[in-house]
């Protein structure tokens, strides 16, 4: 009962990946700041970039920008481009000013952007220097969220990776959950695992610097998100052991994810079933209700967040959909391999993007639902295609049992809306 329903002989793992290069219609890694700053409550994210970067954050963060957010952009000006030494002094001054205005900040991230990478502004050195200046009150780290290096959710990966080397060392056998999830979801995961007797459980990123988890040879960790490849590698380099599993989307994904951890901690089947039986039944019922309109429909994923493969697995296996193409900005088989294994060969698996060519494929396939970014959604709707804008899948609580119905609901809502609207004049 806890093993996959069926493992087809040829799976998506064996499908040759269509690799494309061309125009990409994606966010850069800076966007990750928008949800990371909510999660890490004493951190400030300072982007060193251009007006474009500030404008991007403002556009992507929507109304959140007005809630005195803990992020900002140090905008490079003409004079900063002229001499490098000057840029470091400028940065020190801006950080000084920022920290005096926000004394509650314990952790400061200097976030690199395309301009700062191109002029090779050494933010790593700046972070070290500033850490010394502001120690012990504030720790300064750096990572790059530039578009030339990172795509959308990879920004979180880069951020968490930058934290791994400074995690304290521990020899304790601890479970570390990796990935920033909404608190409500994280609490559910911790509660389920605790009920099985698994613990102590720590999370990366921690909500406050003081609660930073330790890492060592006895640490085992599981990723909550499929885009954390570099973080997983960095944790492995520090001796931690990675538990591989499908990602906890839907009833099946959540069960398999929990099962993999339970196995690592020697939880017996009875305990596992006792803890998961009720929420599994709830999840199945909620999915059945919400996925009524998805059954037999086709779906096309444009690349966006790297969540595409696990979500396609959920939609095809639990909601009865058929995947035409599953586009990802980047495929890390070490993480999404278990999800690929669960899907029978058939859909095109694509990595990277040439947006105009991919749109040609969308138009040719006429999918019932296209999952895409906000720059493409309305234009495709105007062409008569039904779309689900992808960003919502990153911000909304969608993981684990209790959200499984909501997750299916996110995909079925546009389909239902298409069915209920009667806007065309009667012929």
């Amino acid at each position: 009962m806890n093993t996959p329903k069926s493992i087809p002989s040829g799976t998506c793992r064996d499908t040759p990946v269509l690799k494309e290069r061309g125009q990409r219609e994606v966010f850069c890694g800076l966007t990750g700041i928008i949800w990371l700053h909510r999660k890490m409550q004493d951190a400030f994210f300072l982007v060193i970039g251009s007006r474009t970067c500030a404008h991007l954050l403002q556009s992507a963060a929507g109304v959140m920008i007005f809630a005195e957010p803990r992020f900002g952009t140090a905008i490079l000006e003409e004079t900063d481009l002229a001499g490098m030494a000057d840029a470091h002094e400028e940065l020190d001054r801006e950080v000084e000013r920022l920290l005096s205005r926000r004394p509650d900040i314990k952790q400061l991230f200097l976030v690199g952007s395309c301009p700062s990478e191109v002029i090779k502004l050494d933010l790593a050195r700046a972070a070290e220097r500033l850490t010394q200046v502001h120690a012990p009150h504030v720790r300064v780290l750096n990572y790059s969220g530039s578009g030339i290096e990172t795509t959308f959710t990879q920004g979180e990966d880069a951020c968490l990776t930058s934290m791994v080397p400074v995690l304290p060392t521990t020899d304790q056998k601890e479970l570390m959950l990796v990935g920033a999830l909404p608190d409500v979801v994280e609490d559910q995961a911790v509660s389920l695992l605790s009920q099985m007797g698994i613990g102590p459980i720590r999370v990366l990123p921690a909500p406050r610097t003081a609660e930073t988890p330790g890492v060592g040879p006895n640490t085992v960790f599981a990723c909550l998100q499929p885009f954390l490849g570099d973080t997983a590698a960095a944790l492995t380099r520090r001796g931690a052991h990675h538990i591989q599993a499908p990602f906890p989307f839907g009833e099946e994904g959540t069960t398999l994810w929990l099962r993999a951890i339970a196995d690592e901690f020697g939880v017996d089947d009875d305990t596992f079933d006792r803890v998961t039986a009720a929420p599994r039944a709830r999840a199945r019922k909620a999915i059945a209700n919400a996925s009524e309109h998805l059954n037999g429909k086709s779906v096309f994923f444009m690349p966006d967040s790297q969540l595409e493969i696990p979500l396609a697995r959920f939609l095809t296996r639990e909601c009865g959909m058929e995947a035409i193409e599953i586009g990802q900005p980047f495929i890390h088989k070490g993480l999404v391999g278990p999800d690929l294994d669960l899907m029978p060969a058939g859909p095109t698996i694509s990595e990277g993007q040439d947006v105009d060519k991919q749109l040609d494929r969308v138009r040719a396939a006429q999918p019932d639902l296209t999952v895409c970014g906000l720059g493409l959604a309305n234009p495709l709707e105007a062409e008569g295609l039904t779309t689900k804008w992808a960003i919502e899948l990153v911000f909304t609580p969608v993981h684990f049992y209790e959200q499984a119905g909501d997750l299916a609901g996110l995909f079925s809502r546009p389909v239902r809306r298409r069915a209920v609207l009667k806007l065309e004049a009667a012929e």
């Binding site: 007006r51 900002g72 205005r101 004394p103 395309c114 578009g147 030339i148 906000l374 720059g375």
Partner: protein
């Protein structure tokens, strides 16, 4: 380096995108890294356009940097031409591509593209969005427009309206209506809905109507020089300005200044007794220079408000805003830093703010009503209904928009009369605000714990209230003052007490201050 959270303007290439997206048959090839495509969603979401902006990005990545980004640009440019077959192409670089110095203009010139290719030089580290749109339109006009014979009938061009422009869509209709009433035809509207081919016909008009100086003044000056076309200097926002505009156009075109005022309701609405309470309402104005200049005159002359502060974020127009501020005898605020705007608003403690999306949020924080008069704006200010700012209907729209956030006369009277009644208690707010009534300013100052879990920012050191002691009688009396003026009363009283060197505020101090500030 300058720390920024909000920006009033995007980078200049967004200005160029606004011109390209406004036009038809034009394509923009933008040398930019992966991620810069975010700007597409401004057009597809905020303006709700039903097609992708006609912009192709090279979206180069890190691994391309050491190699051949120039080659990527050329391939992208060729593919964009082959796929979209535009009548003309504009090419340029975003901030990152500006640093790698590939020179898109020079590269495109070496290619065999059979349509005009117009290179753009947009200095991303010095200039901003409005410069980008003005410069882009100027370059397009410079490349394509030529002197030619005038149309036999009197026609004008309407220039300036753009994609993502605040009410540009409806302003065009309103200006067309004004021209129609005078028997003046429209030769070309540009950039909005114009093709590059239309731009080549600009020279046939007798004059140009410059709708938005921010976006088309350079082009208007250029056309005046090479085609001998005069352009209008008056922006027809407000009743008086529209009258002046009609007179100016009539004079430029040699026609009768005929007007149809049958639809104009604003002057009577403003004269009617319910509007008496608008007299002397203290307003603070901030936005782009054009809309602020127009709004200042409307506020003073057509609504009877008192302008207590004004400013703009686009430095290009700083001089004219300073002149305006002198005319109104208030300080001019030229800044693109919202913290300075917030400070200025706090200092002026107006009863109403007329500003942008940013000021709407500042107003919310300070508990001051606000109406939006200028970009940047959010999706709700690209309404489905007809809502121009210009012309006669624009005056009607402005009257409704501005007074809506205010407590109207009768309601203000009732609120203070029946203050103690449970239905009219201070927290209830004006009835027409529904669930969105401004909270009492005291409450608004306490950050919402649910929305913002982080520790609130430490408040700026207070100059008055932390050293001032309110005696209980005075405190009680203060609470009787309606909430929407209570904040101002508190500040005024404390300032008055501080000026008098008082440490304690008694009932008498409160009323002395009231008398001192009475108008």
């Amino acid at each position: 380096m300058k720390l920024t959270v909000w920006t009033y303007e995007g980078p200049p290439h967004v200005g160029a995108m606004r011109v390209a997206t406004a036009m038809k048959g034009l394509h923009y090839v933008l040398h930019a890294p992966q991620g810069d495509t975010y700007a597409d969603l401004l057009f597809t979401m905020i303006e709700r356009r039903d097609h992708r902006p006609p912009v192709t990005y090279t979206t180069f990545e890190g691994r391309d940097l050491g190699e051949d980004t120039a080659g990527i640009f050329k391939v992208t440019c060729q593919e964009a031409y082959d796929r979209f077959k535009p009548q003309a192409i504009i090419v340029g670089a975003s901030c990152t591509a500006e640093l790698i110095q590939d020179d898109p203009g020079g590269l495109a010139e070496t290619m065999q593209i059979p349509v005009p290719v117009i290179p753009l030089e947009l200095p991303s580290y010095q200039r901003k969005e409005n410069f980008g749109s003005d410069e882009t339109f100027y370059q397009i006009v410079k490349s394509l427009a030529r002197p030619m014979d005038r149309t036999p009938e009197v026609t004008v061009n309407i220039i300036g309206p753009l994609a993502l422009g605040f009410r540009h869509r409806d302003d065009i209709e309103e200006v067309k209506g004004l021209l129609y009433e005078m028997g003046i035809g429209v030769n070309v509207v540009a950039p909005f809905d114009a093709t590059p081919e239309d731009i080549t016909r600009l020279g046939a008009a007798h004059a140009n109507v410059l709708m938005y100086p921010e976006h088309a003044e350079s082009a208007a000056r250029h056309l005046e020089r090479i085609c001998g076309q005069p352009y209008t200097k008056t922006i027809p926002i407000g009743v008086a300005a529209t009258h002046e505009f009609v007179a100016e156009v009539a004079q430029l075109c040699g026609v009768e200044p005929r007007k149809d005022l049958s639809r104009l309701r604003q002057p009577w609405w403003s004269k009617s007794v319910d509007s008496t309470y608008l007299t002397g309402k203290r307003v603070f104005l901030f936005g782009d220079a054009t809309h602020v200049k127009a709004a200042a005159r409307i506020a003073r002359d057509e609504m009877g408000f008192e302008v207590v502060g004004l400013g703009c974020y686009n430095r290009e127009f700083a001089r004219s805003i300073r002149e305006l501020a002198r005319e109104f005898d208030v300080p001019a605020l030229i800044t693109d830093d919202y913290l300075e705007v917030e400070k200025a608003i706090e200092d002026a403690s107006p009863e109403m703010i007329l500003g942008t999306q940013m000021e709407r949020h500042i107003g919310k924080r300070l508990g001051i009503p606000c109406a939006v008069i200028s970009a940047p704006v959010h999706v709700q200010d690209f309404p489905a209904r007809y809502s121009p700012q210009m012309g006669w209907e624009g005056a009607n729209v402005i009257f409704d928009t501005w007074i809506h956030p205010l407590v109207m006369g009768l309601e203000e009277h009732l609120l203070s009369m029946f203050r103690e009644d449970f239905e009219f208690h201070d927290e209830a707010g004006p009835s027409h605000h529904g669930g969105h009534s401004p909270k009492p300013s005291e409450a608004a100052r306490t950050p919402d714990k649910v929305e913002e879990r982080a520790d609130p920012a430490p408040e700026a050191p207070q100059t008055g209230s932390d050293v001032m002691v309110w005696l209980s009688e005075a405190e009680k009396e203060l609470k009787k003052i309606p909430f929407f003026v209570r904040g101002k009363a508190r500040r005024n009283t404390e300032k008055f007490a501080a000026d008098q060197g008082l440490q304690e505020i008694s009932l008498d101090t409160l009323y002395e201050a009231k008398a001192h500030y009475a108008r």
